[in-house]
């Protein structure tokens, strides 16, 4: 039991940064963890034990692509044995039906499949993986045939938002329980390609209408989660439900982070599960304590009546866009930099979309790829 804090609710286990897709909006850090630096099976099993001992409810197996790990089965089995609710967040393109069936038998409770578009050609162009879309549809069907709940994770942006209606229809046709309309967030690799993905204001307005209408018509049939992209919001999102409040994220090499983008903050030294227990890290790790609660907040956050709603927004974004990690999240209209930063970024959406730069593990050089 923890002495000072409530235990986190969920842990995001990023098993590997390896991924067969190379989406240009990848939210993983610019510098990826190589395979030989990944935690081994025993490390992960121990981490799962520590998470269960802490009272954590849920474990999300993610990446990169979590199915790139051959020992995923062992982890799912162990997490289930320790009564953690198990969720697989996958691109699905590496999964066979046999493997999925085995994972289910071992205790996998929920599967979340990412889609790059509802239209095959565009989807495969965006993910840069031939046959990927077709495979995803197949896996999504297997998930339902095996009786597991299915979430469709649709990453939306300027180059596919016009298909949002179809994406909703596709989710219903696949008998999904939930659709996450995830507008691209511009951290890590995605920031390089912001101009290629930033939606126009018209696109956003029409997408909000579509979601509202679908939520009404599909009540009790499909749950739709939708988060307005920061760049068009007036108030910041409650990033991770507040820094160090509900979630922890473990990188492939074992660094424990308050959110999956936190390693963009170079001034922090994150503690590693090889050196310290999860409980120790949750309570004592310096990066976690730095922005926990409201004491750290700058004005005008400190006195804002939303300070315990949005918890000061996103620290990674504050750093990336203002250069100051302690600054007001520029998403907020009360940030002195709000107009300057978001005005210019949203202007990008008014001009022609530039070619985007695919995320390739092997591709150290950064070259635009032809559309």
């Amino acid at each position: 039991m923890l002495k000072k804090l409530k235990a986190p609710l969920a842990v995001l286990a990023e098993l590997s940064h390896r991924c067969p897709l190379s989406c240009a909006y990848c939210s993983n850090p610019i510098e990826l963890v190589e395979k030989n630096k990944e935690l081994d099976t025993n490390d992960w099993i121990r981490v799962i034990d520590e998470a269960a001992d802490l009272g954590i409810h849920q474990i999300h197996f993610s990446g990169g692509e979590p199915t790139a790990r051959k020992d995923l089965e062992q982890m799912v089995e162990h997490a289930h044995k320790r009564k953690l609710y198990t969720n697989l967040i996958t691109s699905a393109v590496l999964l066979s039906r046999e493997r999925l069936e085995k994972l289910k038998k071992l205790g996998l409770e929920h599967v979340q499949v990412s889609f790059q578009d509802s239209e095959r050609e565009n989807a495969n162009r965006i993910g840069n993986f031939k046959g990927g879309h077709e495979k995803k549809l197949e896996v999504a069907k297997w998930v339902r045939e095996l009786g597991m709940p299915l979430t469709i994770n649709a990453v939306m942006h300027r180059q596919n938002l016009h298909h949002l209606d179809d994406m909703i229809k596709m989710s219903v046709d696949l008998d999904a329980d939930r659709l996450e309309v995830a507008n691209v967030q511009y951290y890590g690799w995605a920031l390089k390609n912001r101009a290629a993905f930033m939606p126009t204001k018209d696109q956003l307005e029409s997408s909000m209408e579509i979601v509202e209408k679908a939520r009404k018509n599909l009540k009790g049939i499909l749950v739709i989660d939708y988060v307005l992209p920061d760049y068009y919001a007036k108030r910041p999102k409650s990033c991770m439900g507040g820094w160090g409040r509900q979630f922890l994220n473990i990188s492939p090499e074992g660094n424990v982070l308050p959110c999956h983008a936190a390693e963009t903050i170079k001034s922090f030294k994150f503690d590693n599960v090889k050196d310290k227990s999860l409980a120790w890290i949750w309570e004592n790790s310096e990066p976690f304590n730095k922005f926990r609660g409201t004491d750290w907040m700058p004005s005008p956050c400190k006195t804002c009546d939303r300070r315990e709603i949005d918890w000061g927004g996103c620290r990674c974004q504050a750093l990336a866009l203002t250069g100051d990690i302690g600054a007001v999240d520029p998403t907020c209209e009360f940030s002195p930099l709000h107009e300057k930063i978001f005005g210019s970024a949203t202007k990008e959406s008014g001009s022609e979309a530039p070619e985007f730069i695919y995320r390739l593990l092997s591709n150290k050089e950064v070259e635009p790829v032809k559309k």
Partner: protein, 96 residues
């Protein structure tokens, strides 16, 4: 396409396999665990959810509670349906 489940007093509600309603021994609290969601029901909701076992109807659940709390049955049925309908709409409850 599946249809929305509309709860009535004769509906027999059950928590589906992929949703877990359990007492977390470390945290010492009841929780409803579903994909990407953890809900902490209040004491009344806990009582109701414990009875959502796929064996008894909402009306029977309400009769139990009406006796226990000496409250009007009709009102309790309405309250339970409101509460459970919200869970059903999120996919956390189905009928048996």
């Amino acid at each position: 396409m599946k249809e929305r489940l509309l709860l009535k007093s004769e509906t027999v509600p059950v928590i589906p396999n992929h949703v877990r309603f359990e007492f977390n021994e470390v945290r010492k609290e009841w929780v409803l665990l579903a994909p990407e969601r953890a809900l902490y029901p209040d004491p009344i909701a806990i009582e109701v959810l414990k009875k959502c076992n796929g064996k008894i109807s909402i009306k029977l659940i309400a009769e139990d509670l009406a006796k226990k709390y000496k409250a009007p049955l009709k009102k309790i049925i309405e309250d339970i349906i409101t509460m459970l309908q919200d869970l059903a709409d999120k996919g956390f409850l189905k009928e048996c």
